[in-house]
Symmetry: C2
Subunit: 431 residues, 2 copies
Amino acid sequence: MLTGCQLVSPRHTIKSMATDPPAPWRPIPGGITAPRGFQAAGITAGLKASGNPDLSLLLAPEGAVCAGTFTTSLVRAACVDLCAERLRASGGLARAVLTNSGQANACTGGRGLADSLTATAALADQLGLAPEQMLICSTGVIGVPIPMATLLSGFGPLVAALGSHQAAGDAAARAILTTDLIDKQIALEADLGGRRVRIGGMAKGSGMIHPTMATMLGYLSCDAGVPADTWQAMVSRAVDRSFNAITVDGDTSTNDTFLAFAAGEPLAPGHWDALEAGLTAVSQHLARAIARDGEGATCLIAVQVQGAGSDGDARAIARTVCGSSLVKCAVHGRDPNWGRIVAAAGRAGVPMDPAAVALWMGPHQLMAAGQPLPFDRAAASAYLRDRAAGAYLSDDTAEIRLVVGSGPGRGLAWGCDLSAQYVRINADYTT
Amino acid sequence: MLTGCQLVSPRHTIKSMATDPPAPWRPIPGGITAPRGFQAAGITAGLKASGNPDLSLLLAPEGAVCAGTFTTSLVRAACVDLCAERLRASGGLARAVLTNSGQANACTGGRGLADSLTATAALADQLGLAPEQMLICSTGVIGVPIPMATLLSGFGPLVAALGSHQAAGDAAARAILTTDLIDKQIALEADLGGRRVRIGGMAKGSGMIHPTMATMLGYLSCDAGVPADTWQAMVSRAVDRSFNAITVDGDTSTNDTFLAFAAGEPLAPGHWDALEAGLTAVSQHLARAIARDGEGATCLIAVQVQGAGSDGDARAIARTVCGSSLVKCAVHGRDPNWGRIVAAAGRAGVPMDPAAVALWMGPHQLMAAGQPLPFDRAAASAYLRDRAAGAYLSDDTAEIRLVVGSGPGRGLAWGCDLSAQYVRINADYTT
C-alpha cells in the first residue's frame, strides 16, 4: 500500500545503484591483468600461520603513472608513509607494488620504515627497477614486524610467477586477503577514440578497519595513458564516490591504501570523462564488494540521498545513515524503521530540511513532508528479509532513498547490516 | 608483568573516574527532590501500552533559574523547540517541566507543536503558573502523536501527587524511563559559605538514541541561587564533561534534553567553583549511569586521555575510542586489543603524536612510545572479564588510559561494551 506524495519513481534512481557499468563500458573476464601490459603474481611465502597466500605483486608497463589515496588516520603504517612520499617526490610515477598480508607493519617504529625500504630495494633490484619506482602495502596484525627473511626469500618465486594471464591476476587478488570471505576483482572494457581501453581492479577488506588484522587495500590498472596530475584528480574524485562512501563499522584503518596505475598510448582529452566514468564504476564495484563482505553481514545497504545543498553534503548524510548501528540493526532485523534513518540523517552535521524529508525503502515509501505515511509494514519487512536471501552482489541490496530538501546535491553510500555474528567475530579475535 | 616506561601510576588517574564526589561534596539519600523547595511526582496516566509509569513532573521553587542543553540533531521534536525558545525568551527563567514517556512527539509536524502548547498551558493553569514558565519533554516512539485526552486527564492526579519527599522523587525518576533497566538518581550535599547546599539529579536513556522509542533526558535541581547566565555557563561546561562525553551507539537523539534548575538564597561568587564541581559530579554520575545501562551492555568503559593539545581534543579522542565498535567488541570479548584502541585514537580528527602513545588497560600497560610492550595477556584478559562480574557502577568499569603527546589537554569519556544482545534488542524492536 503506497500512500502520500511520490516525488519520483524510486525505481528510476535505484537503477543507478546497480552494478551495470555506465555506457560505453562493459564487463569483461579477468581483473587487474586485463589491461594491456600489466603483470601480476601471488604466492604463499609463509608469512601467515594459516598457510594461505600472502605475497602479491603488481607490475605496470614502462611509462606508467600512479595515483594514490591513503588513510587519513594519524596512526598509519610505515609502508603508507613510504608510498605517499615516493609518489609525491616522483610526481606520480611508479612501476610496481608489493603487498604482504599477515603483518600490517603499523606501530613498529623505526624498524617498520627500515623494513619497507629493504623490501622495496631488494624486489626492485630483481625487477630491474629503481627502488623509488617500487611501492609496498602491508596488511595484517598491527604491532608485529614483517619476518624479513621469509619475505625476502619469497621474492624469487614471486617474480618467477609474474604473468599477464587471468590466473596470475587471480593469484594476486587472493594473496592480498586476510579476513575476507571472497576475493574482489573486476575488469571493464570500452572503445574510446577508435581503440580498446581496459580497466582492471582488485581489493581486499571486510571492515573499514581491523586494527589487529587488516585494512582496506585497492589496486587498479588501466591501459590508457593520462598525464599524472589528471590521473590523480580523476582517481581522487572516484575514491570520494566509492571507497570513501563505504562503511562497515565506522573505523578507519591505519593502512588503507588505493593505488591506480595508468600506462599506454595517451588518450585524447575528449575521452577523459568517459575514462573517469569507467574508473568510477570499477572503484564503486570494488567498494561495494568490500561493504558486502563486511564481517557478519547478510546484505548490502545502499543509501541514496538527494535534495541536499551539495553532493558532499548528500554523501555525508548517506554515509551517516549507512554507519548508524541502529539502522544496521534494523535492516538485519528486517525492520522498516524509518525513525532511525531520519534521526541518523539529522545528526550528519550538514544542513537538511526536516520538513521536506521523504523516504523510501526499496519500493515502499515510508515518509513524505517530514512525517510518516501509512505503509504495508509486512511487505516492507519482507522486502528486507528477501535481501538476505539474494545472490551475492545482485539482489541482496537493501535500498534506502532519502530526499532531504530541494537542493541539487546527490550522493550514495554503501554499508552492511549489523549482526550478532559481527560481535562474535570481533569479540573473539586476538585472544 | 609490566615492562617499559610507566609515565605515571595509572591508579592515580583512575581514582578520578570513580564515583566518589570531589570534596566538599558528599552523597546523600534521595534524588531530584533532595534540594530544598523542589517537588516532584510520577504517575501512570495510560500513555504506555505496558502500563508502566509515564507522566512525570518537576516543580522548582519561586525564583528558580533554569539552564538547558538540547540535541544538536536537525531532526528534533517539537517539545525541544518549545523548551529552547522559552528559555531563550525568558533569559533562563522557568518553574516546572512535564515529561511524558511513550510518545516522542518527533516528526509529528504542526500538530506536535500545538500539542506541546496545549499541554503546557493546561498544566501551568493547574499549577498557577504562566504557560511560559512551563517546559515539556517527551520520550518514546517517533512519529506518533501524544494521546492528548489521556495526557490531559492525567494532570489532576499528577498535581495531587506532588511532594518533596524521597518517594515523590523516586516516582518522578521512574516515570521518565522507557527501555531503561534501572532508574538513575543521585543527590549530593556540601557546606558552602556557612550553609548547606544540595544538588539532585535524575536521568533516563540506555542509548544515545532510540529513534522509535526514546532518548536521553536529564534533570537537575539545586537549592543555591546563581544568576541565570552564570548557571547556564556552569551547566554547559558540566554537560561537555558528562552527557556530551558518553556514547552507547554513536547515534544522537531527536529529543536529547538536559534541564537544570537552581533556586534559593544567592550563593557568593567565591563558592561558584565548588558549586560547579558538585554540578559536574552529579552530571557525570547520571551520564555514566546511562552509559552503563546501554542496551546489551555488560560493563562500563571509561577512557581517559591526557597529553592532547587541549581538553577538547582529549575529549574527542576519548569519545572516539569509546564509540569504536571494534573497541567495544574487544572489551566484550575480554580481549586486551590495544591496536584497535590506538587506531581509533588516530582517526578522531584532532592532532596526536603516534610516537608518544602510551596505553594502559586497568593496571596493565600495553604500549609505550607508540609501540606495543610485552604484557601478560591472560592477566589483562582476566581484568576485562572481572569487569562484567562487578557490581553496578562500582567495579564494573573497564578503564582505558591513553597518553597521546605532551600537551596539557585531558579528557574523559564513557561508553559500554557491544554485545550480541545489543543487536538482538535493536534488530527486533518495532516489528
